[in-house]
Symmetry: C2
Subunit: 656 residues, 2 copies
């Protein structure tokens, strides 16, 4: 058996493991794996530095299958390379409880670096990873001691390149000259509707050149040596690289290859059988893995062990020469622990009736934390002065200053979200990103994927209600708080004042297994006398006498209900004021705590929130909220017109 | 006064009306109007065909201020040109109840063609308008009788060009060679964070060339003749045109021009005063409109009247020569009426326990309607075979076949949404677009803007629950139905079977003042014996005896509760089955109807929906729903594991 014979067998093994998996599941996408197998083979056997026996080895390269529908290709690579993913799992593709779902899921399957499927996301996640790597390299690497040197490989598809989120991320990657990005474009000229000639005839190479990328073409996407050569050139070029590989979707399937029929459905027994004949592959058994092919792929195990051992030696040498950064690298990057006593740097704010906007408080908190938490880095989608996201005294993260902790994402909310996810999952950094709450809509897919994948991204959404005033309905969130609360595993916190804002940050930073949204005001709110028990989700801010009525609110409306409660108390009524910054956190408390805050025997309850009312019914029968779009006017007038006044709250409470 | 003197005065009038408006409101964006005034002047006084006294004249060109934050520029243009927008309105910029909100709102202010502010949307809306114009031209125009010849002008900004939605739309516009698009790019090199060098250094001209656009540069954005010449060239080029105009943000403001300080806040009295001195403008009065300037702009009134009169003559001549298309043009394009009796073409489906997927039913409905409703056109974001959006027998809408009614939007959900909005607001067409429900997240901003702006776009979201099966959690909507129901003025319909699907289409087509979402199954559902009273939102599908329990559900879960009710009835219980396709439509019914469906005296109620439970509490105390992400498996197994079985429903109902 010649090497090239073995190579061909290895590539066909990837093809037919994938096609057999799809066939057995009777569901899935054989076309991408069959067309892109040689690309994947080249990356995985000639370039990718990884350790199958320790998928979390920090020094590894990352590989992203951005076209997540080709998941069987990734599962095949993982199994063959010696990851803890058995052949039985491949045979259980797309079945309940398997580790091989329809699209790759981070956290579920060892070796899957990010969740992909929704197109464009993996592309943008990789940009985030390359940013994290560039930043950590700038912070930690020393001459001759390059601990952080990951390359980020991806296979990207027509669909990825059509999605706006990828366009945004590509433009930023070019601007930042993220040279560690090496993307192979599976240029198969087929999408679900048919030929890409139907809708996608732009000059892709030229477009990426315009972004500042390094462009190469491989005319035959099955030519391993040509792909190899292109990857080598990509590694030496300082720009991000796109390698356009001309491939044939469903390669080998005699009647379907090169057509959309190969994309998203099983080939069927007959076509699959013909494809095997066509490529000289045995008909039986299904899921055939020739021994020499397995042995060849399994070399990744020893190679990985050596790579990691070598890296550990380098880390030790580094730690000896540079003890302080060495210890910090260990804590922050390898272990991913927060520093002891970081909470003590959280500021507290004295009660103050003038107060400050919670976005301003958030800016103060970020800067108070910044010195103790060097991993805290972030920025805004071109709204830094409004989102208060800037870390004072640190430069911007730019090509010339990758040590900078301040990010200019541009007017690219969606890419920002997906890039934050990539940064978070790379590790060694705790990324945050800001925009207006209403523009959470632009990046909702990224927020959802963070929740689904347990990425600890922090989303700072300021201008969190009609309280933003004059910018008007296009900029005023109404349904956004509730629509975010609907996403499973997302924690939404809307702090009432500066002190709750500090505690909200504590929640976000402590939460390392999922994303957190901070919803912050544009307008000033009083700083209250409050224990700010944000981590409880809701708490008794104050009881006026023995409560017969409960007023509850989040964010900027808390100070309103507090004043209303005082007025009601003056009339001799017993009123409880509940600050309710987070539904999700409250639901996590035990029954006894929840009963202590909202006793069943007090059913006269009024909730006040400057947003949609839906869902507050769970806690209160009566709700003052907003069931329309907002309005352009000074915010105090809007609040008055829409019923967010002490008088109206008092009057509604009296009706109870 | 020389012409060029008058021209300069006219441009300064635009600048200072805008800056004065922002100053008086003490809120807003003076930078764009002051920098782009000459561009706007050139379009509005030398090119734009419109009739200020009939802003809805169908034959007009369209003008879009995609950077909606520069709204005072548009309001100034409208007032000066003689639209029904008084000077008092300009002086009430950003005040409660004014016609001059912070960002332009379609439907509120005469002459505002689309709502802008969220960046990239106006850019993509314009692409939709150009598509509608190209289609109507292909359908109606005859040699020598070009009734449809609108150009679509826009001023677009750095922010627009950074947004993914604009990238997607631009790529499609280039592919389709939409020559009627003439976009002027306000290339001022400043965004909110500072210089565009911070995040946006791509070669924009090259990128748009790669998309297939015609590119021109104007080195001085105040040079009216150069802009004029570029627009003339753009008109003759068959490709969409981008004219890069190098401008200075806040032009004239001595210390702020060319900086981000000019962007988003009032100049302040001192700087504003200095800017007036700088450009030779009188300090007083504020909101100065020199008489000769007003007279000059007011020429648009006579010109507009003549343009429309001429167009009407051409329409009459056309109608005489081509009576049938002439009548159709009048009905469909000018009047925007649906043809008499269109409802009679809605299909009905016989009861059938095997049934069909509601997406398949939707495809049948579209094709049944297509002959009677030639204005019904649409497509999918590269999921046509899955979304069942294809109109049989019509070609694809392409450069060579603009008469085609089938649209290939590519994998560009967000642009699809915004393009549909542009098509809808142009008129003469009823556009629909399809993708998976989970990818509503990608286009949520477009859906929201349709609702806010009352665009009658139709969004077809198939694969509407975990019932899509093996594709898994990345593709399974959980929170999406409810998160869409949260958007004010959006109607969400989730039909239970083929007949409800037909009625859902009737709702969508009848609704001409807002968008409709159709949520449709991937999987087969039985076709029921039902009156399919979708327009009521919810209705009694069947009573088993005198009801003591109400079971309610939407979509694919209705057949489950029907079977559960039969089982409960067999046990001797009285059960009502309510099909609940639309919350919004039900809430529009009068109290008596709602009471007739959900009588207050029957509180034993169970709602069943394969999605988030939040909000169902409004109608039922008990809910079978999903509070987690989905799973990859055959759908029947997922339904079973998550409790969507007849047995579980019966058991939960018994607990009531």
């Amino acid at each position: 058996m010649t090497t090239s014979g073995l190579q061909s067998k290895a590539i066909n093994t990837l093809r037919f493991l994938s096609a057999d998996g799809v066939q057995k599941a009777n569901s899935g996408h054989p076309g991408l794996p069959m067309g892109a197998a040689a690309m994947a083979y080249t990356v995985w056997t000639r370039h990718l530095r990884h350790n199958p026996r320790n998928p979390k080895w920090m020094g590894r390269d990352r590989f992203i299958l951005s076209g997540g529908h080709g998941s069987m290709l990734l599962y095949s690579l993982l199994h063959l390379s010696g990851y803890d993913l058995s052949l039985e799992q491949l045979q259980n593709f797309r079945q309940w409880g398997s580790l091989t779902p329809g699209h790759p899921e981070y956290g579920l399957t060892p070796g899957v670096e990010v969740t992909t499927g929704p197109l464009g996301q993996g592309f943008a996640n990789g940009v985030g990873m390359a940013i994290a790597a560039a930043h950590l390299a700038a912070v930690f690497n020393k001459p001759g001691h390059e601990l952080v040197d990951s390359n980020i490989y991806a296979i990207v598809t027509d669909g990825d390149l059509m999605e706006g989120v990828a366009s945004e991320a590509a433009s930023l990657a070019g601007h930042l000259s993220l040279g560690r990005l090496i993307y192979l474009y599976d240029d198969n000229k087929i999408s679900i509707d048919g030929s890409t000639d139907l809708a996608f005839t732009e000059d892709r190479a030229k477009r990426f050149e315009a972004y500042g990328w390094h462009i190469q073409r491989v005319e035959d996407g099955n030519d391993v040596d040509a792909i190899d050569k292109a990857i080598q050139a990509a590694k030496t070029d300082p720009r991000p690289s796109l390698i356009l590989c001309r491939t044939i979707i469903g390669f080998g399937a005699p009647t379907r290859q090169g057509t959309q029929k190969a994309h998203g459905e099983p080939l069927g027994d007959e076509e699959l059988s013909a494809a095997k004949s066509n490529l000289g592959w045995p008909q039986e058994p299904r899921f055939l893995i020739p021994e020499d092919v397995l042995a060849f792929f399994h070399k990744a195990i020893d190679r990985g062990r050596e790579l990691e051992a070598d890296w550990n030696v380098r880390c030790d040498a580094y730690a000896r020469l540079y003890p302080e950064p060495g210890a910090e690298f260990n804590r922050r990057v390898i272990m991913g622990n927060l520093p002891d006593g970081w909470e003590s740097t959280l500021p507290t704010f004295p009660a103050d009736s003038k107060g400050m906007a919670t976005r301003a408080a958030s800016g103060r908190v970020i800067n108070a934390l910044a010195a103790k938490l060097p991993e805290l880095i972030g920025g805004s989608a071109d709204l830094a002065p409004s989102n208060n996201t800037k870390i004072d005294g640190s430069p911007a993260f730019q090509k010339e200053s990758p040590e900078g902790r301040n990010f200019h994402f541009g007017v690219r909310e969606h890419a920002m979200g997906s890039i934050l996810n990539g940064m978070a999952v790379y590790g060694g950094v705790i990324p945050y990103g800001g925009t207006f709450l209403v523009f959470a809509d632009y990046m909702r897919s990224a927020v959802r994927l963070a929740a689904l994948s347990h990425y600890p991204s922090i989303f700072i959404f300021t201008h969190d209600s009609v309280g933003l005033g004059e910018d008007g309905p296009t900029h005023q969130p109404i349904e956004h708080l509730t629509s975010l609360r609907l996403i499973p595993n997302l924690v939404v916190v809307r702090p009432a004042d500066a002190n709750e804002t500090a505690k909200a940050w504590k929640v976000a930073l402590s939460r390392r297994d999922g994303p957190t949204v901070l919803a912050l005001t544009r307008q000033n709110v009083p700083t209250l006398e409050t224990p700010a028990l944000v981590e409880k989700g809701a708490y008794v801010l104050k009881d006026f006498g023995a409560p017969e009525i409960i007023l509850m609110a989040s964010g900027s409306e808390v100070s309103l209900i507090l004043e209303a409660a005082q007025n009601l108390a003056n009339e001799g009524r017993g009123v409880r004021v509940v600050s309710f910054p987070s539904w999700e956190l409250f639901e996590k408390q035990d029954e006894a705590y929840r009963e202590s805050v909202l006793p069943k025997n007090i059913q006269k309850r009024l909730a006040v929130e400057a947003g949609a009312t839906l869902g507050w019914e769970r806690y209160a029968k009566s709700v003052i909220g907003i069931e329309r779009f907002g309005a352009s006017a000074p915010y105090k007038i809007i609040f008055e017109k829409l019923g967010f006044t002490v008088d109206n709250i008092v009057s509604k409470a009296r009706e109870l």
